[in-house]
């Protein structure tokens, strides 16, 4: 039986009809020739042939794929039913779209930052070399994940045997000059074997080879990323061989990497890849230092080396490697450094600070979105049950006249299948919009975030699975219950019962109770995260970021000092204070040194070298003593201003003026005796999340490394921020147009550091609200249904003298009962789920009673109001009309 036959059944049938007609005509003619009258002749012909309709039906059936046909019939039936109830259909599809869309969007992000493997050859062979529990690695680190110094990399490369190929890499920023314009470019430091070991091929030109990467190589060349090549050179093949200037050093362009290779760091691409040896000219201080952590190491495991075996091997060679690379010039870290152990970890999905930063939030959000979908399903199941009950009689009749239960079951299920499929399709569309919105939200104004959001099989599969699951969740039970009914009992009961039977209603109550419980838990979650965000926004930072501008200025090779710059800036109209600082508060950077006291005490303290008027610029009150001023020069007594926490913790006094302490020796930072000359209020240093820390401020004229050519400058202005930005820009350019700088207001910068928290607050509040809305609709539906079912009973009660208030109270009692059952379960769920969220909350506990109480009250008020509508409807019932209806 061919498919074409199947789809052309109609035409075939017409053909057969004509053929049979032709037969009848021929037979009739012959019968007339045999001497029959025309009428008799026709009758005789019909008798000879049999019923043409039956013959056609037989042929039609031969053309039918009966299974498929039944399915199509069921679907058609489903579509017709859904179109008859547009309200129900829209609500159902909308809630599924929201549920499935939210889940898919978050899954898509999670997939992109967590699950997707690198687009390189055999990514599962890749492993990263890390330092286990990295915390005893003294020195400077360029990022939160950097695991290696250059000497360490050399040692590992020489001594390891677990990897067939090994490479080091690190990301960095540089100033890119093209045609006199200076911009920042994302630079990727790579060892010579980088592309080769990864198995990435050039889209154009060549890559450097391992032999290119040796000390003293100078500037052998760079490899551009495909995106950068497209952006900067418009994809022009002539780019190969051209020169690109990085931090004032010219480099020839050797090649362009393949389009799908965007680096090893998820969410962060690169513009140019530069061989490590070129650091000798671009970052000369880094190569020899054993305390400059700027590299990561990855390699391809040899075929028979598992990650565990590689780890064991690395651990075995660790002592010798750390012995050989021990940083010098540190006073007490030596033994701790030597105790470090190397380990191998699977790296098939690349490295990602994004993953570490967001994956907990995303997992929690996925769970939340999943619960929302569950609430939506419960709602739909409820609606479907109500519809099934309303159709009970119809189904009973169909069963009685011979419809098979199987077929009815399939029919009811196909209706939910249709809804789930539509929900999934719209959900995918919604997810696309939602996930790209989320990505732009997460990247903020500042950084580009490179996330691949193409729909792959995993995302599509996830959505399909969701659709099937939801369909089963909300369609199966109603379908099973509806078709399990005995026709006789259903027909007898239909419409005649005075009160509803408890048993049929029980399941719907369970659904509503669980909806109330889940939505309460989600509501608590949403409130917790919103309040946590508010707490963070209201943190007393100890300074005033409003109207403060920050300029990162670089004046390499120009004869300028930061004091020239500050003087020029102070002259700008509206600027009432300006100061430099090595650390800009709350931008994540940090400088810690060990401090020792005469009484033998010691500990860590945050440091920042500032110029006078820093506290005035940021509005931090000086509690005791004096600010830095012109008296403090490179040769005068070394002075420090400490914060309250430093004074309390280390000096044991609220009046530390005149006390002294020593810093511990570090390379470039000799042991120094400081005298405290001032005390300031506690301020936040690196992030809003941190607790109070001891901070020591020293004066920039006494900074141990003189002659730097860059600075962070903080400016307070009384002028409106946009005007001030353009005036400051002008002033810096006026001083010398060759100065490169980056200028931005401080306040948005601080807010941007709370992106993850904002996302959690916004999405969890949205999901909480959504679940809340769905649960309210569910409750409303159940109460309305109950009122409709009990019309008779209510009518009789009223006829017998029940007053309207009594009826309202009766209905509300019902709703209250459901609430009372759901709320405690919801609180328990919220408390259990809260444990997972504890570390993400700031300034409140997950079991915060006020939050839980607020959620309960809100849910209670809305739920009772929603039930009041059907209750009032019941109370307005005309008893006579209700009774007459029967």
């Amino acid at each position: 039986m061919g498919w074409s036959r199947y789809f052309h059944r109609k035409r075939w049938d017409e053909e057969r009809a004509r053929e049979l007609e032709a037969y009848l005509n021929a037979e009739t003619l012959e019968n007339i020739a045999r001497g029959l009258s025309p009428g008799e002749a026709r009758h005789a012909a019909r008798r000879k042939l049999g019923d043409p309709i039956l013959i056609r039906e037989e042929i039609y059936r031969m053309n039918t794929l009966s299974m498929l046909d039944a399915v199509i019939q069921d679907l058609r039936h489903g579509i017709r039913l859904l179109r008859l109830n547009p309200g129900f259909t829209i609500v159902a599809i909308l809630s599924l779209t929201l549920g499935i869309g939210a889940n898919t969007a978050i899954f898509q992000l999670l997939d992109a930052v967590r699950l997707r493997t690198l687009p390189v050859r055999k990514p599962n062979e890749l492993a990263r070399i890390r330092i286990a529990n990295q915390n005893d690695t003294p020195g400077i680190s360029t990022g939160p994940q950097t695991d290696s110094t250059y000497p360490l990399w050399e040692q590992i490369r020489e001594h390891q045997q677990a990897f067939s190929g090994l490479f080091a890499f690190g990301s960095d920023g540089s100033n890119l000059t093209t045609g006199g314009q200076v911009r920042s470019a994302d630079m990727l430091w790579v060892s010579g074997d980088f592309f080769n070991v990864l198995g990435v091929v050039p889209a154009l030109g060549t890559f450097f080879a391992a032999t290119d990467d040796k000390p003293g190589c100078g500037a052998p060349g760079v490899v551009l990323s495909y995106a950068f090549w497209q952006r900067e050179y418009g994809g022009d093949p002539a780019a190969i061989g051209k020169t690109i200037t990085l931090d004032s050093h010219p480099f020839p362009v050797l090649g362009v990497s393949s389009p799908w290779f965007t680096g090893l760091q998820v969410g962060h691409g690169f513009d140019v890849a530069v061989p490590l040896c070129s650091a000798a000219i671009l970052r000369p201080e880094r190569l020899p230092r054993s305390d400059y952590w700027w590299l990561d190491i990855m390699g391809r495991r040899k075929p028979d080396w598992s990650v565990e075996r590689a780890s064991a091997h690395l651990a075995a060679i660790s002592p010798a490697i750390f012995e050989a690379t021990q940083p010098t010039g540190y006073s007490h870290d030596a033994r701790k450094y030597l105790a470090n152990k190397l380990q191998a970890v699977a790296a098939d999905t690349g490295v990602s600070p994004l993953r570490e930063r967001f994956s907990d939030s995303l997992l929690l959000l996925l769970a939340t979105a999943g619960l929302v979908l569950l609430v939506a399903c419960a709602n739909l199941a409820n609606l479907m049950l109500a519809r099934a009950t309303a159709r009970e009689r119809e189904l009973a009749i169909r069963l009685a006249i011979g419809a098979s239960r199987n077929r009815l079951f399939r029919q009811m299920l196909s209706e939910s299948l249709l809804l789930a499929a539509s929900g999934a399709i719209f959900g995918i569309l919604l997810a696309r919009a939602l996930s790209s919105f989320l990505v732009s939200f997460l990247s903020g104004d500042g950084g580009r975030m490179l996330i691949d959001l193409t729909l792959d099989w995993r995302v599509t599969g996830f959505t399909a699975a969701l659709a099937i699951l939801t369909c089963a969740l909300f369609g199966l039970t109603p379908a099973l219950r509806a078709t399990r009914t005995e026709p006789v009992s259903a027909m007898r009961a239909g419409g005649r019962g005075l009160t509803m039977s408890r048993d049929r209603f029980g399941f719907r109550r369970v659904l509503v109770i669980s909806q109330i419980a889940v939505s309460l838990a989600l509501l608590v979650g949403g409130l917790l995260f919103s309040r946590s965000l508010r707490n963070l926004l209201n943190v007393d930072t100890g300074f005033r970021p409003q109207n403060v501008l920050i300029a990162n200025v670089n004046w390499a090779a120009l004869h300028i000092t930061d004091h020239d710059l500050l003087d020029r800036l102070r002259a700008v109209q509206g600027v009432d204070a300006a100061s430099s600082a090595t650390i800009v508060p709350l931008n994540g950077s940090s400088w810690t040194m060990g401090v020792r006291f005469d009484n033998g005490g010691h500990g860590p303290s945050k440091f920042s070298w500032i110029s006078p008027a820093y506290f005035k610029t940021l509005g931090t009150p000086l509690m005791e003593g004096r600010d830095f001023d012109d008296r403090d020069t490179a040769t005068s007594q070394k002075v420090a201003i400490v914060n309250q926490d430093f004074a309390r913790r280390y000096l044991g006094t609220a009046d530390p003026i005149g006390k002294t302490f020593r810093t511990e020796m570090e390379p470039g930072y000799p042991e120094t005796l400081y005298t405290v000359v001032g005390l300031v209020r506690n301020t936040h240093y690196g992030s809003l999340w941190e607790k109070q820390l001891p901070i020591c401020f020293a004066v920039d004229t006494q900074y141990p490394k003189a002659g730097t050519s860059h600075a962070n400058i903080l400016i307070h202005t009384s002028a409106p921020v946009p005007d001030a930005l353009s005036q400051v820009k002008q002033a810096i350019s006026d001083l010398n147009p060759a100065i490169t700088f980056d200028l931005y207001p401080m306040e948005p910068q601080i807010e941007a550091s709370l992106i993850g928290e904002r996302l959690m607050a916004a999405l969890s509040a949205f999901f909480g609200g959504l679940a809340f809305l769905l649960a309210t609709v569910g409750l409303y539906g159940v109460i309305s249904y109950m009122v409709a079912q009990r019309r008779n009973e209510i009518g009789i009660r009223m006829a017998l003298g029940a007053d309207r208030l009594g009826v309202v109270a009766m209905i509300l009692r019902e709703a209250g009962g459901l609430l009372l059952a759901g709320v405690p379960i919801g609180i328990i769920v919220a408390l259990m789920a809260g444990r997972a969220a504890r570390s993400m909350l700031f300034g409140l506990q997950p079991n915060d009673p006020l939050t839980i109480a607020t959620a309960v009250v809100a849910l209670g008020v809305v739920a009772i109001s929603a039930s009041y509508i059907p209750a009032r409807r019941a109370a307005r019932l005309d008893p006579m009309a209700a009774l007459r209806e029967e």
Binding site: R16, E19, N25, A26, L49, L54, E57, E58, M62, G402
Partner: protein, 117 residues
């Protein structure tokens, strides 16, 4: 779904052989349903009474298997009629099935009249 109104056929053997008879009839040239029905009756000297109604599903089945093909032509009475002709596949099938039929007849014959051996 209940089966309805399949016209009664005269036993399973006949249903299987109806296809063979149709194919054999078409060897002499294209013919339409009415002609085929009468041709079978005539050639069997009216021993085989074809239920004319069952002829058409059989024709459909044969066409579906690709053993016969159909076209609209003009009948001897100058009327439109659907003609069937034998396809090469149909010829081969006829040959095979005739052979098998002969074997069957001989085998049955041997069973029914063993004495003649």
């Amino acid at each position: 779904m209940p089966k309805r109104g399949t016209p009664p056929l005269q036993g399973e053997v006949l249903q299987g052989t109806l296809d063979l008879l149709i194919l054999r009839t078409l060897v002499t040239g294209p013919a339409h349903g009415h002609t085929i029905a009468y041709a079978i009756e005539r050639r069997s000297e009216d021993v085989l009474q074809v239920q004319h109604g069952s002829l058409f599903p059989a024709l459909h089945r044969l066409e579906d298997r690709g053993w016969i093909a159909s076209f609209w032509g003009t009948s001897e009475n100058n009327r439109k009629a659907r003609y069937y002709r034998l396809t090469p596949a149909g010829k081969k099938q006829l040959h095979e099935q005739t052979g098998r039929w002969d074997q069957l007849v001989q085998a049955i014959g041997r069973v029914l009249r063993p004495a003649e051996d």
